[in-house]
């Protein structure tokens, strides 16, 4: 039964993508750990971390695509969910430092000692346990999205208005996390992590494992998203995107449908953030920047909204481009990014994957049409030969 569910849940392209991701999850760590540094196939550790970071970005873009591509909600607040997940993981990592901080306080992280705090704030309790932190990684963004979406969708705030108030939410969180008395390290954020689950966070093995975890998590979320999108609920989701009022008149509770997608998407963004933080080694309020959220939108748009593979491709393409560009011509990166925004919206509204998919579909249709004509020709030919 599970097999039939799985078979129903995705088409070939998703299967291929999942296979590639699982393959990468095994191959890249193997090439990093098992080959000698001078081996031609060796993957240096910094590349492993870099690509691990891209994969978490891809997961974030996938999360956004679920609400934007399939439900028409352009959230400009996904960087906030991402950052909240990141902070939850960061808090776990901070607690793991223990007495190894510069002030050597076994309980309090360095910045609290620096601020002359005497005891741990209540919301830091429990973060010394991984399972609790992992739970918070999905619960906190999920809860925020649920409460926010509950109010917003119920009062039928939609379209551009929703985009603007999600942006306001991110901005408010940005300001809040910049405050020192919030208890999240203020401006500097959380950093100087030592180990995760008892493994040194700087070690090659841990990095490779984090990469594998990111790839597998991305694959898992891809399967989940695909299952959602291809289910009956997914059809209604698309109906809400294309004709919200009509769907409502047909008797569907549009706000519930939107709320579910929004909450699931926020949880996925939180997971992406949690995988991102140990790989880059820092989380600070800058992650809440409204600009970041909009950048996620452009990854999705470049790859192709409304396709599940698209955002993954887009995130990796744009961020790969960013890494190359900022190293080679740092001044031109913003020109390139800005140009990308304009050109993609004007000329490539379906994105790379969407356009390619449409092209392939047309080719297939042509070939099919040719194939349909073939028998006639074949049938006609002998006659002509005669």
């Amino acid at each position: 039964m599970i097999t039939s569910f799985l078979m129903r849940s995705f088409d070939r392209s998703i299967l291929i993508a999942v296979a590639i991701l699982v393959g990468l999850a095994m191959l890249v760590p193997a090439l990093n750990l098992l080959t000698a540094p001078d081996h031609p196939l060796h993957v240096p550790t910094y590349l492993v971390s870099l690509f691990g970071k891209y994969l978490t970005y891809a997961l974030l873009a996938l999360a956004l695509d679920l609400v934007w591509g399939f439900c028409g909600i352009l959230s400009l607040g996904h960087a906030a969910f991402f950052a909240l997940g990141g902070y939850a993981m960061g808090m776990y990592l901070m607690r793991q430092i223990g007495a190894r901080g510069s002030y050597g306080n076994p309980l309090l992280p360095d910045f609290m000692v620096f601020l002359n705090w005497k005891e741990l704030p209540w919301f830091w309790h429990g973060f010394d346990m991984f399972w609790f932190a992992a739970l918070m990684v999905v619960l906190v963004p999920g809860l925020l999205a649920f409460v926010f979406g509950w109010f917003a969708f119920r009062s039928r705030v939609n379209g551009v208005y929703l985009s603007i108030i999600t942006q306001a939410m991110t901005y408010a969180l940005l300001l809040a996390f910049f405050r020192n008395d919030m208890g999240f390290g203020g401006n500097n954020g959380l950093t100087d992590f030592k180990d995760i689950l008892g493994f040194n966070i700087q070690a090659d093995g841990t990095r490779a494992a984090l990469f594998a975890a990111s790839a597998l998590m991305l694959a898992l979320c891809l399967i989940l998203s695909s299952a959602i999108v291809r289910s009956k609920y997914g059809k209604v989701l698309v109906a809400v995107r294309d004709a919200e009022s009509r769907t409502r008149f047909l008797g569907y509770r549009v706000e519930h449908i939107k709320l579910f997608a929004f909450t699931v998407s926020a949880m996925m963004a939180g997971i992406a953030g949690a995988l991102y933080v140990p790989q880059v080694g820092i989380i600070n309020p800058g992650e809440f920047e409204p600009g970041n959220s909009i950048e996620v939108v452009i990854w999705t748009a470049v790859g192709g909204r409304g396709t599940l593979i698209g955002p993954i491709v887009g995130a990796i393409l744009v961020n790969g481009g960013k890494s190359i560009f900022t190293a080679a011509f740092p001044e031109f990166w913003l020109f390139a990014l800005g140009g990308l925004f304009v050109l993609v919206t004007l000329f490539l509204p379906k994105g790379v994957v969407g356009t390619a998919g449409a092209y392939l579909a047309r080719r297939r249709a042509q070939r099919k049409a040719q194939a349909d004509q073939m028998p006639d020709n074949l049938a006609a030919e002998p006659m002509a030969a005669e």
Partner: protein, 538 residues
Amino acid sequence: MYRILQILFVALCLLISAHVVGSRAADDLGVLVDQLGAAKLSDMDDRIAALAKTGDAKVIPVLEALGEGELYQRKSDGKVFLVKAGGADLQLVDPVTGADAGATPKAAMQKVKVNNAVRRAVRSALGGLTLFSEDTGARLKAAQSMLQTPNADALEAIETAIAAEKDGSVRKVLVEARAVTLLVSDRPDDQKRQAIALLAEGNGRNGLAVLTSALATADVSLKPDIEAAIARIEQTQAFWSAGQNVWYGLSLGSVLLLAAIGLAITFGVMGIINMAHGEMVMLGAYTTFLVQEVVRNSYPELFDWSLAIALPLAFLVTGAVGLAIERGVIRFLYGRPLETLLATWGISLILQQSVRSIFGPTNREVGNPSWMSGAFDLGGLTITWNRLWIIVFALAVFAALLFLLKRTSMGLKMRAVTQNRRMASSMGIRTPWVDALTFALGSGIAGMAGVALSQIDNVSPNLGQGYIIDSFMVVVFGGVGNLWGTLVGAFSLGILNKFLEPYAGAVLGKILVLVLIILFIQKKPRGLFALKGRAVEA
């Protein structure tokens, strides 16, 4: 202490009759000054008192020189001179006429001896003297110092000065100084009561401190009066601080209005999400910078006019940029608001980076013209000119825009196109042109806002980013498609922000405002002044 008081009193009496004996004063002064040189340290007090008694303004530099140790006696004839330090020789100045009296070797002169007791006597004599100075500014300063450090000994001097004072503002300070001084003196209680009543009337920052300290030492019978007066002053101060908050709020509101008003056109009227709006403000600010550079280098005398020159230029520059954006990008995206948002965000990145490449990433210096700097007091409020002008300017822009939309043929066409595009088109209105011009107008207004904001904000490539979210909040809060909504939205958000700040702090106040707006939009998704009818669903 008593002696000083005496001296002062006599000095005052003499001053009143000074012009009667004016002709003789100069001769006497010379003698008195010369006596300073001959006196022993113990006699100095009397001599200084005698000098102060003359009430002559020429005594001031002599006493000052005495305090500084710059008064010398000539050994040959015992005459006393002011001395300017310089080189081996001493430059002599006649104390009475103020004329140069040539240079003398140091050996020929002897310094007039000073100790701390003498310096004290000099200081109090000077304080009394400056109360009667010819210069209004000096009198005001003396009165203010009396007000801030009340000294019971100076009471009579103050009273005499009040009688002689003609200048209203100095007199006001003197009266307040007298009341403050009275409280620390040993005058009878009914006089003190009057003083307390007087202090309670004023907005008294000084009064409060004096009354609070007097409360501890005062007579039991006086205590209720003092307590009542303190309560009264605190009430007045609360009133004025609320007033100050309203003023700050209006000031912030005018900034928000300026930033949002162009957006009210592009977003509110046309429905275009222009994320590059903040960059239009930034371009306006940079236009001001360029104009000021040219003016500074070529026509420095026109500097006060630089803003007036920059205003139309900024309008034209940003209007042209807006026109280019509309024709080049936005017109292909009508009916796809989310895509417009992304494309204009891309444009904003490009504009920011262009400005950063051309002008550098650091803040550029934009000066305030003379009529925009400084401040004045209004009751208990301190009002700075630049903030006042910005409020005036914001309201003027608002009025002009309202006039344009409601009273001109261009405005009529704009409204027609936004209300029913196809119908407007069938009536012969060239809708694409109206779109382009409306967008250019909105951008141009943002540019003019940039000119004003360059006066109070850092002119850097990031200038616009700081305003974009706030501007959207204002427009959404006020109600899309309604200029009055933008006005009310801007000022109410500004004032709300400033009233939250004292309780919550600047950052938390801002967060609270954002949260309140988010909640408000849940309640009224179309803003404060919502459009009604068919336009809503369109």
